[in-house]
Point group: C2
Chain length 79, copies 2
């Protein structure tokens, strides 16, 4: 079963990577870019065929390893 | 207007980062993880209020800077 974990920075947390992308886009001539926020998407292929179990496992993985709970939020979606 | 650009590796392209995450999950006791694929999500805050223009601009940004067209696919979604 495939599960998608979307990891984004919490609101208010500075995003230096996003700022760097914004400046680079400006340098390439793309004006009108008011903000850029960068996140991660992790697609997990899990052995279980139980959707609830897969969601629970993925959330535990996100809490323990995939995301930094201090500055990041995550959402889990079965796909 | 906010636009989301999802960037994923093309099928068949090796994902060393994903492999490293898979091994780390195994070391943490998460068994049953058959595969891990990692991608990026970039949220753009564009000045335009025209959805079609925003999508076109974001696609151009993805082609020119945000994604590596050789090994990555991208999708653009107005949010």
């Amino acid at each position: 079963m495939k599960v998608r974990v979307d990891i984004t920075l919490k609101p208010g947390v500075l995003d230096p990577q996003g700022e760097a992308v914004r400046h680079a886009l400006g340098a390439l001539g793309f004006d009108g870019v008011q903000g850029v926020r960068q996140g991660k998407v992790i697609e997990l292929d899990l052995a279980t065929e139980d959707a609830d179990l897969a969601k629970t496992q993925a959330a535990q993985m996100a809490e323990k390893l995939l995301s930094n709970q201090v500055i990041e939020n995550f959402t889990v979606t079965v796909i």
